[in-house]
Symmetry: C2
Subunit: 234 residues, 2 copies
């Protein structure tokens, strides 16, 4: 333990040397992926990992990994590698996982329920504190332990509970109205599954879009391309 | 109509000049997004659009749009703009939408049901021809008009029906086994929602991963960053 503490000390000193806000946005973009792999390793009971092993698992060069992690003081130790717990904590802090944001999910259809049941939120420090829907049959019930409210109560609820994240899984036709309600109530970020662009008046409301269709199309393209290569071989 | 036909002719001649497979991969990556916007415009009854209007809607420079679309013969006409139908058809062809791939969804939980009900597949030329699950209570029933089979039948079904795309929405613990079964049965691409990396023996099986958690994390980061800017202003 002594040596680990010592290494931690070194980590912290070096980390302090890296000025806040100096992590390039290209690195920030890659951090969620690091976080995912490192969390899996932690859950599997691993304590440390070398850049070459991490490189193999993540299919990235070891030098890219060293470069990326050095940006925020994640220095590997010769013959020891990276301290997974430290790295995960540091990445979590950088990404806002440690902020403990509260979220609501609007739309308790299939997708809303899938999002209510997944462990994805908790692993990223986000608490789902309510579901909203217009279906009177489910208002007042609990889905996966999360209470369902009527969408009419959305504005008041978000304002009172200082909700940071609104997850939007309502039909396209209702998406803008619901998003505006949340934005007006001070919700800071909207995770948009409604498959449409949201143009909100409030420029401070952040919108993160999920476009599953784009991913399906990329898959179709890769299949087509692989087929053409196959044909050319014949 | 005469002028449109004439322009179409010009399009086709120029398109033929662009050699197959010469579209840079960076452009290919952006095409699903063009397809999405153009399909929305088509559904709204629009026939043509100028690069400057498309640029405003898509929040990309007009010169980027001209450069991207020129790659595959999508030449705009002075004072006329782009023919939306032609562009959509050309992008669809490039991306494999016109191949008419058949897909199965494995896992009829909340996420599987959400994917069974969405119009996203049809809009990209993909037919969902079966759902698979291990829950005997739903095997034999139909969900959103799609018949549910037992996962035991997956291998035979995919082989017989020459399934191109397998959508994986099973729990992590079952993901590898199900993916391998599909890969062995000749399924060419796996759309992976199981939130784990799949390492399959068959190098020809394409895996397209959906990592919703990475997107949630990006949102958290942007919220945190915006908050810090706000704090610095005070």
């Amino acid at each position: 333990m002594e040596s680990i503490d010592k290494i931690h000390g070194t980590f912290e000193r070096r980390a302090a040397e890296v000025k806040e806000g100096n992590v390039p946005s290209a690195v920030i973009k890659r951090l969620p992926r690091y976080h995912r792999y490192l969390t899996d390793l932690l859950e599997a009971g691993r304590l440390r990992i070398s850049s070459s092993e991490l490189s193999k698992i993540m299919n990235v060069t070891a030098s890219q990994i060293r470069q990326d992690l050095n940006c925020f003081g994640g220095f590997g130790q010769q013959g020891y590698g990276y301290n997974i717990k430290y790295l995960t904590a540091k990445i979590s802090e950088l990404l806002g996982v440690t902020e403990g944001y509260d979220a609501v999910i609007v739309g308790a259809g299939n997708l809303g329920r899938a999002l209510a049941s997944t462990r994805m939120f908790g692993r990223r420090g986000v608490r789902r504190i309510a579901l909203f829907d217009i279906d009177e049959k489910i208002v007042g019930t609990e889905i996966y332990g999360i209470k369902v409210y009527h969408t009419d109560e959305l504005y008041e609820f978000c304002k009172k509970e200082k909700i940071a994240i609104g997850v939007l899984t309502v039909p396209k036709s209702a998406a803008y109205h619901v998003a505006k309600t949340m934005s007006d109530a001070g919700v800071r970020g909207i995770w948009n599954f409604a498959n449409m662009e949201l143009k909100l008046d409030n420029p401070d409301t952040i919108v993160e879009n999920i476009h599953l269709g784009d991913s399906l199309m990329t898959l179709c393209y890769k299949i087509k391309e692989a087929g053409e290569k196959e044909d050319n071989k014949d």
